[in-house]
């Protein structure tokens, strides 16, 4: 379903003049083939508040990258830079370069709606629409006018979200009637129905009980076989359990360390990271 192997997928970002978009991609700096998202000196301000400072990192494809850090450190802000959700905040200002497969998502010719089709998002609180399970899944496709075999998309998306077996006999019942964990998996199905390459998850299990949390964690690991998952979590053990890479943001909107998760949790380079993850501050 996802388009990670499509060499021409830059055109999906571009609102007009497809050839310019492709040209921009072709001329961009050659990147490690495994890098999907690359951030170069990203700075974000909310009015006068400098929320992110010079964030530079490469996020590899088909992996789970966790972002941890104390409240207000900017990890969610960075997540929202990736699919330009910060555009929706009037006082937000983003500087720097953030590329999706080499194409700067902040270029003028990038359509944020097309971008968000390639970069899906799941939020902290399950937020299904007051519609049927079926309609929730195909909602993104319908509003974007994408013609597809909706039945097939619904089945495939719900299977990938590990929800199909639980809802296949009641697809036309309201999504709001599902349990919290099921609702969150429905939201994940909705996010992957539009065939994204990247899934952004902003504390997707923090409102769920331990069993539902385990299901989401299992799902995240499975999804990483096909998608690049970037997850913000306050739960450090969750980051340790499910992620391949971990980015530690600390107060001041600074990315202090970004490395393999095993390295971060067993032997971080930074004393500040060590102090944070061992609970000595924060």
């Amino acid at each position: 379903m996802n388009g990670t192997e499509d060499p021409t997928n830059d055109e999906m970002l571009v609102e007009t003049d497809v050839s310019d978009g492709l040209s921009a991609s072709a001329n961009s700096v050659s990147r490690d083939a495994e890098t999907v998202i690359s951030s170069e000196n990203i700075n974000v301000w909310y009015g006068d508040d400098h929320a992110l400072t010079d964030i530079t990192m490469d996020i590899p494809e088909n992996s789970v990258t966790a972002m941890i850090g104390p409240s207000g450190c900017g990890k969610s802000t960075f997540l929202r830079c990736i699919n330009r959700m910060n555009d929706l905040i009037d006082v937000a200002r983003v500087e720097g370069r953030l590329t999706l497969r080499g194409k700067n998502v902040y270029d003028d010719d990038v359509d944020p709606v097309a971008l968000r089709r390639r970069v899906g998002m799941v939020f902290q609180k399950p937020n299904p629409f007051p519609k049927s399970i079926y309609e929730n899944v195909v909602y993104g496709l319908k509003i974007q006018g994408i013609d597809a075999d909706y039945d097939e998309v619904v089945e495939e998306s719900l299977k990938r979200a590990a929800l199909w077996d639980e809802v296949k006999d009641r697809l036309h019942e309201s999504g709001l009637d599902l349990s919290g964990g099921q609702q969150q998996r429905l939201c994940i199905a909705r996010a992957i129905a539009t065939d994204p390459e990247v899934l952004l998850m902003d504390e997707p299990a923090s409102a769920l009980d331990p069993v539902a949390t385990s299901q989401i964690e299992d799902l995240v690991e499975e999804l990483a076989e096909d998608y690049t998952v970037v997850i913000v979590t306050h739960n450090m053990q969750q980051a340790a359990r499910i992620s391949d890479k971990t980015a530690v943001f600390l107060t001041g909107g600074e990315l202090v360390e970004f490395d393999d998760t095993q390295k971060i949790f067993e032997n971080p380079d930074s004393q500040r990271v060590e102090d944070y993850i061992t609970g000595k501050f924060g």
Partner: protein, 226 residues
Amino acid sequence: MARNTYQSRLNQLEEDVLYLSELAAERVRFALDALEDKDERKAQEVIEGDHEINRIYLDLEQDCIDLLALQQPVAGDLRFIAASFKIITDLERIGDLATNLAQYAIDAENDVYAEVDIRRIGDAALDMVDQAMDAYETEDTDLCRSVAERDDDLDAMCDSASESIVRDLMTGDDFEGDGDLDPETALVDVRRLLLTVRDLERIGDHAVNVAARTLYMIDNDDSLLF
């Protein structure tokens, strides 16, 4: 500093591991005294004291499990607990070896052989244990490596002692008495002496294990583990 209870439990674990090491080393020292003085009462004390070492060992093992399960330690804290979890096993084994030595002291009441300097070998092994535990307490990587290097000297002393014992058995030299040595008695005594040397050498090996785990704990360096 946050997580005060957690931090105090980590501090307590370190104190308890150090206490276990002092107890194990003391038992080895007593056993060496018993061997040297053929002091059966002291040897018996060492044997009976092994229960205390086993009890403390099991308590500390449970403390480590509790910390892992309940506190989800990471980074330096995780390495400290993982290292401590392994180190207490070595300390408990040192206690077991002290019990062996004490048993040899009881059995060797009428030993016919007297020339090997068990005390010197035992002191060398104990110095290594003390140094390894100093490294653990002060987080000194140089001390860790020094313990590993000293093991070669201890091994050489033990090899030399074992060769001397076997050579003397074969030649009949240096045995007490007038040369009318009962071969069966000599064999039992020599075997016991070889086991004594072997157990002291093993105490050194456990000291190296402690140093290796401590180096990992301090620097995430596993170079002494292999």
